[in-house]
């Protein structure tokens, strides 16, 4: 009925008429505004901070600084919410100025005088790991951390994940050829069009009201408790529509500043709203990477061993970067069967903006490294890169790097994806053609997979209530960040209740006091977890409806069905009760009533997830592996090194497509993001690690007209546990794009291109044999 149809998103008309509201659209008389004072140095001691002139400026209520605040961080508490004593990255917050208007706050922020003593700045993971490199955190041993975080005090290593599977020496010994490839890219940014925003207000009764453009409203509650001892029951977080997130709004940062600012002004409402510049560097960014991949294989191209070193550029604070580095390790090989795996994945501190999840959560990064190496292997062996991938494709019965045995349900069908990609791309017809003296066309491919490494006890809840006309309201803690998940939940509920999806309403915004918790709106888990909870809630409602109807119709509930707005007798649908007559209890003609209102409750928690063994990495990190095969076709000019992305392909195992057009949109949007990242995005740093391009003027994402033609198809290998078999698809489109683009360009230019972004100058320089340093 509703599942499998391109249902238009519920909030569509709000969004095309300007009625849709985001956090910063809610304005209130008397609300105060904050401006952030940030560090112009990437590494420096704060010698003094003088706020007197700022405090005396018109409209200013407070200047909040960092003394006495607890350290924060989700896996390891290494970050002061406002820097004290030392700044560790360019753009780090050193003070928050609160004033009547934003203009006044910004004016006053310029009057805060901070004296710094610059320290040598660490610029990349390899630099940070060098003997004698400046240490970012002298007291790494003293930080509070969770059990799964393994920092290495005395170094800049915040965490190391080890994957040890099989016998790596033996694997290489059995190999005919060993290829080693190193890749790298600098940190970049999510660039959600809505910059992050949070407001906080503390009421006289002690309740703390936060409004935030966040993927983690429920986490904000918990963290205000963990960090500041606030009672979770007194923290109420409101999240309206979110204007793009892509992982960047999963961490909790501005919310803490808003809370502190409100506290400083007697609980008045304060808004902290990032400028674009602050959103790009002060708030967490997309992680950078330096990696080396060594593949051992037989002459026929069968993988025997993979040794992988990921050095993730976690930036100045570990926060969620630890998790990202772990996620890449967990799936380090890509969707291939490799018996002998040795991987070290390090989350390294550098004096750069701190990192956080970026759509695909470590997987486009992983894929870029490994898929480049696979192309190099194929080239060395003079084998077809598609063949090599197909030959090694992972299947049920194989084990993952963390030694999870795969089944037909918990992994998608990578072979089917690769086969279809080959047809779609007409791979066999040509892979490189010289069109004229300068123009070359070339194709590149990549596979990808991903499991969602989320907390083992993450859960999701859904509540269904009814309206007096029999229509339903779905209340879920999934944040509508643009993925359309709320609409998909409505489809799932409509399907189960056999109801017109127009009669299923969704509560768009989140209010943590009334919305059941959904862990975080990340990791493509919305549809899976909230979907399961929605099904459970629908079943619960059905049970209640049947109970009431059974009484009235004098039939066993087992003989009743719910559908089409009615509860009816299975063997004689003419005998029925409209849902609207029983959703609030049934009233007999004499006025007596039974039942009361129907409230469907559903919940879901992932089962059997385990933390990784610290020595071998063995463990079950996520519920299932979604897979994809992707390709890019480019036209490259050998004279001037410019190129055009002509076509981009993706074949994704969706399990089951619940909403075809929405799924397509998710896939294409992710692909666009991946192509933009790999072809033109990345922060540029000077020698002191200051970011030189924290603006959209100079950090330029892909624009209209620069987009290729997108060709996307889905394979459907159901995951038995998932609602209607659907797998996460919001991220897969991105995973293969950087590697596929780099593979195509490497083939076209005839040199290995192992750095991002792939701007013409990089290709020119690589071909000339120069190293491409920062300017």
């Amino acid at each position: 009925m509703a599942v499998g149809k391109s249902i238009i998103r519920k909030e569509a008309w709000d969004k095309v008429t300007g009625r849709a509201k985001y956090t910063n659209d809610f304005k209130e008389q008397g609300m105060l505004h904050a401006s952030l004072v940030t560090s112009p140095y990437a590494h420096a001691r704060i010698l003094s901070l003088e706020a007197r002139r700022a405090l005396a400026a018109p409209g200013v209520h407070a200047v909040v600084t960092g003394e006495g605040l607890p350290l924060t961080g989700e896996d390891m508490r290494d970050r002061p919410p406002i820097a004290v004593d030392k700044v560790r990255y360019y753009g780090e917050v050193v003070a928050v100025v609160v004033a009547d208007t934003l203009a006044q706050a910004e004016q006053a922020a310029r009057l805060v005088r901070v004296v710094y003593e610059p320290l040598p700045a660490v610029g990349s993971p390899r630099e940070a790991l060098k003997e004698g490199a400046p240490l970012l955190h002298e007291h790494l041993d003293r930080y509070e951390k969770n059990k799964t975080t393994h920092p290495e005090p005395g170094t800049n290593v915040a965490h190391r994940t080890k994957i040890r599977k099989g016998n790596i020496e033996q694997g290489f010994a059995e190999s005919d050829v060993i290829v080693e490839t190193s890749v790298s890219f600098a940190p970049s940014d999510h660039i959600a069009m809505e910059t992050r925003c949070a407001t906080a207000e503390i009421w006289p009764d002690g309740t703390i009201h936060i409004s935030a453009s966040s993927q983690s409203p429920f986490m904000i509650k918990k963290l205000l408790h963990t960090y500041f001892g606030e009672e979770t029951g007194k923290v109420i977080v409101h999240t309206p529509l979110v204007g793009g997130a892509y992982g960047g709004k999963a961490p909790v940062q501005l919310e803490l500043l808003a809370y502190l600012a409100s506290k400083a002004v007697g609980g008045r409402k304060v808004s902290v709203w990032n400028s674009r510049e602050h959103d790009m560097v002060t708030s967490p960014v997309h992680i950078g990477l330096e990696a080396t991949v060594k593949i051992g294989a037989t002459k026929e191209g069968l993988f025997k061993a993979m040794e992988i070193l990921f050095l993730f550029d976690g930036g100045a604070y570990s926060d969620k970067a630890i998790d990202v580095s772990r996620a890449a390790a967990v799936d380090c090989t890509g969707p291939y069967h490799v018996e002998n795996v040795f991987c070290d994945s390090l989350c390294v501190y550098t004096n750069r903006p701190y990192a956080t999840p970026f759509r695909s959560f470590g997987h486009c990064e992983q894929a870029f490294a490994v898929e480049r190496a696979i192309d190099e292997l194929a080239r060395t062996l003079q084998l077809d890169p598609w063949e090599v991938r197909r030959k090694n494709a992972i299947r049920p019965g194989h084990t993952t790097p963390t030694q999870v045995r795969l089944t037909k349900s918990n992994v998608g069908n990578i072979s089917a994806c690769l086969d279809r990609l080959r047809e779609l791309m007409r791979w066999d017809e040509w892979q490189r053609v010289e069109v004229d003296a300068y123009t070359v066309r070339a194709k590149g491919i990549s596979s990808g997979w991903k499991t969602s490494t989320i907390d083992t006890d993450a859960s999701s809840g859904v509540i269904l209530t009814f309206n007096s006309d029999g229509s339903v309201n779905v209340i879920s803690g999934v944040v509508e960040i643009g993925t359309g998940t709320k609409t998909v939940l409505a489809q799932i509920v409509a399907e189960r209740l056999k109801m017109d999806v127009d009669c299923v309403h969704v509560k768009m915004d989140i209010d943590t006091q009334t919305t059941p918790e959904h862990w975080k709106t990340v990791a493509s888990r919305g549809t899976f977890m909230a979907g399961r909870a929605a099904l459970a809630a629908a079943d619960d409602a059905i049970r209640q409806l049947k109970d009431i109807a059974a009484c009235v119709l004098r039939a066993s509930p087992d003989d009743l069905e719910v559908g089409f707005g009615r509860v009816f007798l299975r063997d004689d649908p003419a005998i029925f009760l409209p849902i609207k007559d029983i959703a609030y209890g049934y009233k007999f003609p004499n006025g007596n009533a039974i039942g009361g209102q129907v409230i469907g409750r559903g919940r879901y928690i992932l089962r059997h997830l385990t933390p990784l063994d610290p020595e071998t990495g063995a463990g079950k990190p996520g519920p299932e592996w979604g897979v994809c095969a992707e390709g890019v076709e480019i036209e490259f000019n050998r004279r001037d090194y410019t190129y055009r992305i002509v076509k981009a392909y993706a074949v994704i195992d969706a399990g089951k497509v619940l909403n075809p057009k929405a799924a397509l949109g998710q896939a294409m949007g992710a692909m666009s993001m991946g192509l933009s990242f790999s072809s033109r995005e990345g922060f540029l740093f000077d020698n002191e690690q200051r970011v030189l391009n924290p603006q959209l003027r100079t950090y330029r994402p892909i624009r209209f007209g620069e987009h290729p033609e997108y060709i996307v198809e889905f394979v459907e290998t159901p995951q038995i546990d998932a609602p209607y078999g659907a797998r996460g698809i919001g991220e897969h489109g991105l995973i293969g794009m950087p590697a596929a683009l780099a593979n195509a360009l490497s083939l076209a230019a005839g040199v290995p291109l192992n750095e991002l972004p792939l701007v013409p100058e990089l290709i020119w320089r690589t071909q000339k044999g120069d190293s491409y340093g920062s300017v």
Binding site: S6, I8, R9, E11, A12, W13, D14, K15, V16, T17, G18, R19, A20, K21, Y22, N24, D25, K27, A103, H190, I191, A192, M193, E194, T195, L241, V242, G243, G244, A245, Y246, S275, R276, I481, G482, T483, G484, K661, A662, L664, G665, Q666, M668, G669, M671, S672, M673, Q695, L696, R697, P701, I702, R703, F704, G705, E706, H707, E709, Y710
Partner: protein, 161 residues
């Protein structure tokens, strides 16, 4: 200085006369959003780079983050709230031409003006106009389909001059 900073302005917004007391240095974007409660136009960069703040002034798309409200006195301002069931709104919905929706008001206003000004727009003109806006969620292919559909429909059924 006080006497020179704030001033009462009478603006014509979406067919209505709206009067507002505001700083002379205030941008149209902030006056629309904070002064007049029209939050459809979005701040994305305040630097002229993203197009989320696009509104029409006398039918021409402009980036309201870099125009003063006071400059628009005597001109007709149209924000997304002023569109009345425009074909482009329907096309955006039909083609799933947005996800998070944050760039949408700006994109729609620009596309709407393009369609009105250049009903016969060719590929180059469409690109020239629409590259002014950044969308981070979609692939642009959906937006392209929406805009082209409206242009086609317009060509098929020319309205009276």
């Amino acid at each position: 200085m006080e006497e020179t900073t704030k001033r009462e302005l009478v603006l014509h917004v979406n067919g209505e006369r709206r009067s507002i007391v505001t700083r002379q240095a205030e941008t149209l974007l902030f006056v629309l959003r904070d002064g007049l409660g029209l939050t459809g136009a979005k701040p994305g960069c305040l630097n002229g780079d993203c197009g989320a703040c696009t509104v029409l002034v006398d039918g021409t798309p402009i980036k309201s983050c870099m125009m003063l409200a006071i400059e628009t006195v005597g001109k007709e301002i149209t924000s997304i709230e002023g569109l009345d069931d425009a074909p482009i709104q329907h096309a955006f919905v039909r083609h799933f031409a947005f996800q998070c929706g944050y760039c949408t008001p700006g994109f729609i206003m620009n596309a709407h003006a393009l369609i009105e000004r250049h009903p016969n727009a060719d590929e180059a003109t469409i690109q020239e106009w629409l590259e002014s806006n950044i969308c981070r969620c979609t692939s642009y292919q959906e937006i392209e389909a929406a805009v082209k559909e409206v242009l086609e429909a317009k060509k098929a059924k020319p309205t009276d001059p």
